[in-house]
Symmetry: D2
Subunit: 147 residues, 4 copies
């Protein structure tokens, strides 16, 4: 039984915002998301849309809340998801401490693609990449990028 929820995020802001340490992708960025009551629905598992919240938190952790906050409050720049694909394998439950594994890659000068996976604790190995999933963040206010 699969344990990962995969997610790919195609992101259209410059990689200059992305810490270089994580650009190699030899290992994914790890972010933990605790599953609370608020995340579940009456079927007993995490409501499907809420994984998008977890993945966004991971992206914000990668770029840095302070960087994003400064961009938003001082420069009026934010981001908007414009494409996403999700595949669900297993329902996370209340009490799970999900491990959000994120990788990304550069696509041209102005584009990055994010891949996220959510892993439940103590589950065995799964194929680490869920091909064909996709999500996009785009600048709400276009900027000339320099790399």
């Amino acid at each position: 039984m699969p344990d990962a929820i995969s997610f790919m995020c195609l992101i259209f802001f410059s990689h200059r915002f992305i810490p270089h340490a994580h650009m190699t992708m030899s290992t994914p960025h790890i972010f933990h998301a605790q599953v609370y009551y608020e995340d579940t629905d009456h079927s007993g598992v995490v409501y499907h849309a809420n994984y998008l919240k977890f993945f966004e938190r991971a992206r914000e952790d990668i770029i840095g809340i302070d960087v994003l906050s400064d961009m938003w409050h001082n420069k009026g720049i934010g981001f908007a998801v414009y494409k996403t694909e999700l595949k669900f394998h297993d329902g996370a439950v209340f009490g799970d401490l999900l491990e959000i594994r994120s990788r990304w890659e550069k696509q041209g000068e102005y584009r990055l693609v994010f891949f996220h996976e959510a892993w439940r604790p103590g589950k065995s190995a799964q194929p680490s990449v869920q091909p064909g999933s996709g999500c996009a963040w785009g600048l709400k206010k276009l900027l000339p990028f320099r790399t």
Copy 2:
């Protein structure tokens, strides 16, 4: 077994925004909120914070989405809840079509107090007012009011 979830909303914008037809309070304003998967949590009932969403929808229905939308988008005026009290009696479940009963009263020149109750379908009579509950909406941008 009680079936109502009560809520009082103390609202600090002028009653000129409130349709006069509902000011008599001989009967409450009725708004229906359908309980979807998104509203429930893994305990099987509506997540407690989500009643605040239902009550806000009711207030927006009372004042008028078009009025609020115009105020926000054209005049930069919005509202913020600043005080609320909730008492929970019974858990609404997926499939319930909740009846949100709202009343309000004027308190001085610039203040209105809203009282909300959420009723599950097909339940018998309950005390219609839950005293001591309270919620407040305030103008985010102060205006001189005329009544």
Copy 3:
């Protein structure tokens, strides 16, 4: 500027649950979703994950809340989204009354695919189908289907 947010939902429960009147697909099923404060985020538009809520409401409207509620509460059967694709074109704002247009098709004996689009009010024509989007609902408790 595009005005539609498309969504395809691959749904794995039998079409016997789907009203036949809508199977012809000559016209989509229409469901309206009002955009409230709760749906937006600080960027000023609807938070991306919340479209999934709107689309689920539409599916529940199509199948019937009473049918789904009876299935869940009396037979222990629910549904889980297991695949979805979203493309965002335009940000809906507070006050919008979104028109959710849904179509679906049969794929074999046990599978239906849902396609959703969210349209903002008063916007001009858009390509009605966003190819490549996908979402799946599956039975949480498998049943032998008969058509």
Copy 4:
């Protein structure tokens, strides 16, 4: 300008679940809640109902997610909020790392009252207690308590 959002939670499960280290209340329990896009609304600040999520996370942190998870999944016991009072002083914004300060007290054999405050980072001192706020968690499955 006030910076705290206060909250009192009247909680009806036995204090045996509450770590004794925090019972003295000489200092509050501290839990941090990061404000993400998902928490805000189009007015630019945290949507009022979402503070209830932050406060619940704090309670779950106090009692222990593992304890609550075991109670739920193995013993069928959960908790429901049945009374709450909220007072809002200042709107938290995207990027804030809120400090949730929680205190609680025993009220008889079977009752605990929780008091929560949400503090924005880097703000000056505020009255630490907001009297009259209230919230209640109750056991969904009654148990004989021993202290």
